[in-house]
């Protein structure tokens, strides 16, 4: 379910992380299940970084310019995670294809003696 960004006010890293997961899983749709484990680690890291940057800026330990760089890195980080998640969808699909064809290739070889391993190679 998409977040309502007009009312989203996370008070803990966990709430921010849950918000990120909700948003990303909504964008990815069916690709989310293949990406979930890896991507949660990356999103957790970004959520912690965003919280730390906000806290350090508020405490005067970062200048506005330094905080701007951190937020820019986090924005780029979210893009990286989305791209990576989409790639995992393709990798998962390829694993299914490889698995199914491995069974068929073995069956054909055992029945006919013909090795058709070449059909899964990229032309």
């Amino acid at each position: 379910m998409a977040l309502d960004l007009t009312t989203f006010k996370p008070e803990t890293v966990g709430q921010l992380f849950d918000g990120l997961v909700s948003e990303v899983s909504g964008i990815l749709g069916t690709e989310w299940s293949s990406a979930e484990a890896d991507v949660k680690t990356y999103l957790d890291n970004i959520a912690h970084a965003a919280f730390n940057t906000t806290a350090q800026l508020a405490a005067g330990r970062l200048t506005q310019d330094q905080a701007k760089m951190q937020f820019k890195l986090q924005e780029l980080g979210l893009k990286q995670v989305l791209l990576y998640s989409q790639l995992l969808g393709a990798v998962a699909a390829q694993k299914v294809v490889n698995g199914v064809f491995a069974v068929i290739i073995a069956a054909v070889k055992n029945v006919t003696g013909i090795d058709i391993n070449w059909i899964t190679q990229e032309p």
Binding site: I46, Q70, L73, Q74, Y84, V91, V111, I114, E122
Partner: protein, 153 residues
């Protein structure tokens, strides 16, 4: 029985041509990404030990150049692979890796700009490890390694 099997071979031969969703792993591309990632971790480690004001930029410039050089070389390979596969199902995944490499380049450039600026990089700018800075450049490396895992199975 054998006639059926030969029929199956013919069908699979046709179907098999369009069933590759991921591009082939590329060792040279991986090596460039690995070198770039190592350089990024080195910069992050330097900021862990001490603040990096703009006066320290010249001492680190060679490191940045090396990182960006490796990323450009990696992206040239990734783009070429994506171009070759653009009309195939695996073209999308090939293009995603190129975009991730560009995301790492943008990340490194953002850090360079801040390092050269008046405020520089504060001590611990990229703590704790792995920071988002490091993560952004580890992701394309991890993506290419996923292709290696596919090739191994």
């Amino acid at each position: 029985m054998h006639r059926c099997a030969f029929g199956l071979v013919a069908v699979l031969g046709l179907a098999g041509c369009g069933t590759t969703f991921a591009p082939q792993y590329d060792q040279t591309l991986y090596d460039h990404l690995s070198a770039a990632s190592g350089g990024v971790h080195n910069i992050a480690a330097a900021a862990h030990l001490a603040a990096l004001p703009p006066s320290t930029y010249p001492a680190h410039e060679a490191q940045y150049v090396s990182i960006l050089g490796d990323l450009r070389a990696a992206d040239a390979i990734a783009k070429n692979r994506a171009d070759q596969l653009k009309d195939k199902p695996s073209g999308k995944a090939a293009s995603l890796i190129s975009q991730m490499i560009e995301g790492c380049e943008d990340t490194v450039q953002t850090v360079i700009d801040q390092h050269k600026s008046t405020d520089g990089l504060p001590k611990g700018a990229f703590d704790p490890t792995p920071s988002v800075f490091e993560q952004n450049c580890d992701i394309p490396l991890k993506a290419e390694s996923k292709l290696q895992e596919l090739a191994a199975h």
